[in-house]
């Protein structure tokens, strides 16, 4: 049967589906949407830029980051992210990826801390080196099992502090990380909330960051994930490469141990 477009437009009324049927199928349909996105992840554009940034001679000392030790020896990127955060003797502290990158930019490339940390997160044409570097470096841990060791006392201390921060309720809304991420099978609006106190939940969540967020058109790093969760928790602003960020990351990364790393991912 063929009808003219004009007549069809004139009669354009939405056929309302029964609410109950819709509610049931909503979750399935969202799953299909997510599946359709998997085929082309714009994070690849960030990965390419990150690899170039890693290899480019930059900074006052005009050297590349290829001498940077991410924990597995200078210049070793493959699998490094799956073992972060970790204790670095040369800095005598526990560092996550972003903190380590800043350390290398300062000590090896000669940037000042202020210059190095000017743009932790990108926004459109104002782009972040960290999100590009994180996209590439993490992609080099794809398929590697998470293995955060906690062998050093400072690593164990970071884990314990991170756990306390996870349950810390504050701000006008009384929110803690655990408010949204402490129970299994919950959603906020239509977004599934991983239970980060549960092994499977922690593994699924941690191994799929960084991610290209289609809602923002940006690759977001793990520190961004924490930063923006705290914003929505109504907390003050989390400082980039701060001790709280590192401690919380240590807690979450360790809980994901054993799972294959699978990022950069693509998410809503």
């Amino acid at each position: 049967m063929k009808r003219s477009l004009a007549s069809l437009l004139a009669a354009a009324t939405l056929i309302a589906l029964p609410a109950a049927a819709l509610a049931q199928s909503t979750v399935d349909e969202i799953a299909k949407y997510r599946q359709q996105l998997q085929d082309g992840n714009p994070a690849e554009l960030w990965e390419a830029r990150g690899e170039d940034l890693w290899k480019q001679k930059r900074g006052p000392k005009n050297v590349s980051l290829e001498g940077c030790d991410l924990g597995k020896g200078p210049g070793v990127v493959k699998g490094a992210y799956a073992e972060l955060p970790r204790y670095f003797a040369d800095a005598d502290r526990v560092m996550d990826l972003e903190t380590r990158l800043v350390h290398c930019m300062v000590t090896q490339q000669g940037f000042s801390f202020a210059d190095a940390t000017r743009r932790p997160f990108g926004n459109g044409s104002s782009r972040s080196e960290f999100e590009a570097l994180a996209a590439w470096i993490t992609s080099e841990s794809k398929g590697v099992k998470m293995n955060v060791r906690l062998g050093h006392p400072k690593e164990r201390e970071a884990y314990q502090i991170g756990e306390k921060i996870f349950y810390f309720r504050g701000g006008p809304h009384d929110f803690a990380c655990a408010t949204c991420h402490g129970e299994t099978g919950k959603r906020i609006r239509l977004q599934d909330l991983p239970n980060l106190t549960d092994k499977a939940g922690a593994q699924l969540a941690y191994t799929t960051w960084p991610a290209y967020r289609v809602s923002q058109g940006e690759v977001r790093s793990f520190e961004w994930r924490l930063y923006d969760c705290f914003r929505q928790q109504r907390f003050p602003e989390l400082k980039f490469t701060s001790e709280a960020a590192i401690a919380l990351t240590t807690f979450l990364a360790r809980n994901a141990n054993g799972a294959e790393f699978n990022a950069p991912a693509i998410k809503r």
Binding site: T26, Q160, I161, Y167, P172, D174, I188, Q232, R234, E237
Partner: protein
């Protein structure tokens, strides 16, 4: 023991067994607060005093589902109940249409929000409320047909308004914000939400 409590215990147990736990629980709490104070910066309306916990927040910084001792919970609920201020005019039902807008809005109190704009309650983030809105969360129970199931007696109105005002008055350590007690919503907004839940014409009760 709940699975998550079991996991926490197992992780902690593993640390202790390996002779690894470096700090006592109290020391870890103290260090965590110290670390947080140094790790956050004031921005916009979000000042550092947001990290100063009141007693409810301090006692409730535990895994969700792990219960406080009964007497502690009872004391917390009593204190929170005493904080509820009911409207002076005695009217608890506002305009459900305005309530629906408040329930949909998730802004307010974030450092990225304009403090001059009213806050939302973001009810849909956690609760199902109506048939029409399919994008709802499940952190809290479904409130669909809330009024139809309960009626709108003076007692129900008072409980509903009170629950919005201070959820911890009825359930210690509830996940739900204390909208009145913490000054998130205005009295009128809370009346409008009460109407959204109880008015027979509201989509909640259709």
């Amino acid at each position: 023991m709940s699975p998550r409590a079991a996991l926490s215990a197992a992780l902690l147990g593993a640390l202790v067994a390996a002779g690894c736990a470096t700090m006592s629980d109290e020391e870890a709490s103290r260090r965590a607060l110290e670390v947080m104070k140094a790790s956050f910066a004031e921005r916009g309306q979000a000042k550092l005093d947001r990290l100063d916990q009141d007693e409810t927040q301090r006692l409730c910084s535990i895994p969700p589902g792990s219960a406080l001792p009964k007497d502690v919970a009872g004391k917390l609920e009593k204190e929170n109940l005493a904080s509820i201020v009911y409207p002076a005019d005695g009217k608890l039902l506002g305009d459900w249409k305005a309530g629906e807008r408040v329930a949909q809005s998730g802004v307010g109190k974030q450092f990225s929000d304009d403090p001059k704009q009213p806050s939302g309650a973001n009810c849909y983030a956690c609760h199902q409320l109506s048939k029409q809105e399919i994008s709802f969360g499940t952190i809290g129970p479904s409130l669909y047909q809330y009024g139809k199931l309960r009626g709108a007696s003076a007692g129900i109105q008072r409980y509903t308004y009170g629950k919005i005002y201070n959820s911890n008055a009825f359930t210690a350590c509830s996940n739900m914000p204390r909208f009145g007690h913490k000054g998130i919503l205005t009295e009128q907004q809370m009346k409008d939400l009460t109407a959204l839940l109880l008015d027979p014409e509201s989509p909640v009760n259709k």
